[in-house]
Amino acid sequence: MVSTGELIALSPVLVVDDDESTQQRLVRLLSDLLGATHDIAVADTVADAKAIVPVFKPRLALVDIGLPDGNGVELIGWVENHHPDTTTVAISAWGHEEIVLAALRAGAVGYLMKERDDVELRAALQSIRRGGALIDPLIARRILSYIPFVSKDNLAPSVSPTESLVRNDISLSERESEILQFVAQGFSNREIADLTGLSRFTIEGYTKSIYRKLAVSSRTAAVFEAKSMGLL
């Protein structure tokens, strides 16, 4: 940890997953990270989660995409709408980018791949705690293909209504787009940091802001899209 002062409080945390071993693994990882277990709740279904969230008021919810009584993307959207203080992160196994992207558009600020090593999952959670997010080349590529235009400068969002409409309500800053390009080519965060002169934590922050922009565009639309693509 570089700086503890910048950490976001992730506790209490809710794990929504119907697979017991995954539940246990995630609880273990979170416990290692947060150092306490009493702030971690577990739900097996969408219904459970919807019941728990208003009472438990988690700061973080890890949501599996494939749940027995519904889909996680919908749950993420619901949480984002009704409890915007709760940060959501999608969980997927061998996740297809379309599914991950649907979750991001529904409001998730990150994703975890079940097949990854513990080391990698831990790194992802740490990144989330630092206020950032991790990203994979295939996801970066997919986001780039979603957004054909890139606004010149994020600081001066002088986007006219028509332009913003054309851009599907998403406009990335030049820096964000540059980072996505690097990620898509397979550069690691450290390499990108070397190339851009930014710290790797700043880069993680940019990644998160890209995810937020995706979510802002349309949450319900993302669910519909994912459904129509047969992913949910």
Binding site: L138, G186, S188
Partner: protein, 616 residues
Amino acid sequence: MRVFFVLLLACGLFASSVAAEQIPSTTNATIELQSAEAAPADWHSEAPPVDGWTPVKLMDLWDTRWPHHDGVVWYRLHWNQTSTDQPVGLFIDYVSLAYVLYVNGNRIYSDTHLVEPLSRTWIRPQYFLIDKPLLRQGQNTLLVRVSGLAGYQPGFGAVTIGNPDAVQARERRGEFLRYNVQVFDLSVSFVFGGLFFLLWLLRRKDTYYGWYALCTVVWSLYTINFLASSPWPFNNTPAWEAINAAAYFASTVTFAIFLLRYAGYQWPRTEGIMLVLCVALFAVALLCPQWTGHYRAVAIIFGCSIYYVAIFGFMGYAWRHPRADNYALAGSLLIPLVVSAHDMLLFLGVIRSDSYLLAVTSPITIIGMGSALAYRFAVAMRRAENFNLELQREVQAATGQLTETLKREHDLALNNARIGERLNLVRDLHDGFGGSLLAAISTLENPRLPPEPAQVVITLKELRDDLRLIIDTTTHERDTDLAGLLAPLRHRWSQRFEAIAIDNRWTVEGVDDLSLGAMRVLELLRFLQESLTNVLKHSSASQVHVYIRRKGECLNVEVRDDGQGFDLASVARRGAGLPSLRARVGRLGATLQIMSSPGGGTRLSFDVPLSPMALT
């Protein structure tokens, strides 16, 4: 034939007018002098002979009276002039060939050439104005010295005297009908002949254009007969007349051949005979102008017959082949037929008029024939244009079909390739992933070697990583180049090395547009994954550098680390992972180069040949 008609014209003019000789003129009246006296003389006669005068009726052609008289004939006419207050007009209608005119003993006109080559004055009428003191009250005498040749209608036509305006009007009408119309005829012939000659030059296979052009040009040569005032370029009248008759004959022959061609016929023997006759006639005309000129009527009549036979023949053809252009041409040929019939009837006095029409209608005929040709040309053009349109439509349809077929074939090929890839993938799952899985199971099941949990995890993670590669490669191969397919592996391994603080560098150059095909890419990724796993597990390296560079027609792959290295000989014997790497490189069509020494790091490298097919 034309010569005859000009003569008919002259005859007709005098026949249709009212004879009023020796009647005192009033202010507006004209009189036509039809009575005269004629006396022959030699070529060089300076004054009218004293005796030998014969009374004649004008117009007079002396060849009937003195059949062999070439030379001069003097004509003497008288008229009574009641008053000389007003001048009188004098109209000389026809003189063949050259003459000198005296009024009351005074010479008032003389042709340039009174001996051969004789002037050709007959081509146009002449008008004179006579006033006091030349004009006398009472009897006036007109003396005309005519130089002519017995063979070429020598003689003198009627003379009209009277009110100048009326006489001049008559002269002008004669000038128009006999001269101006011929000028027009000639011009039209040249223009149309020239036009279709050019057309023929551009379309040699449409020979009727050429024959039409030839016909009109030869015809216009003949027409010059009515316009030339001297026999130039010949130095005598018979030569001129002989060539002229030959030109007439040639025009009828070419006309007949034109009609044949137009109707689509070729009669080589008939045409050959006629053309040979033409050439022979020209030759004879040049060699024996006297003889040919004398018998030129034969050529004229023969040519005239060809002309009429051709016209009637074509009309029969048009009757049997009803087509607009055939009708147009037949119609334009009908004009000279009708007109010559009209002129003939007029000559015979069956109908009454004072105008012969053939000379006027000749240009109409030429224009009519030209129009028929133009119409035919236009029809051919239209057909060509329609043909082009139709052709274009058919080409478009064919192109469309071809495109569709090609697309279908392409789709089919693509589909086959896809199926092939899928088969490859299945085979790979059997041999690669499946093999590893079976090996892992048999190892774990071995009762004599109870598995350590850590070893089990390592084995399973290897399987997982391999599955990841398979998924990434097969899911994204379609729309992703090598650079894109390398990215997830690179990203993953960068993270792994970073997590355990191994400095890792990647140099990826010139692979942006490279496509190797799913199976080769998978092989390459597996090589990288295995060699990087080796670095991670065995090398204790602090630095690893991966190079993937395109070098011309090769893809150079290199993995270097600064780890502990190994003894090539001993490792080769034990074979810790190296045979697998070698096999993969071999499947990529390359040979693995290994450089390693204990403590000196390891370097694996190979060059994958890129077939031209791999370049997109």
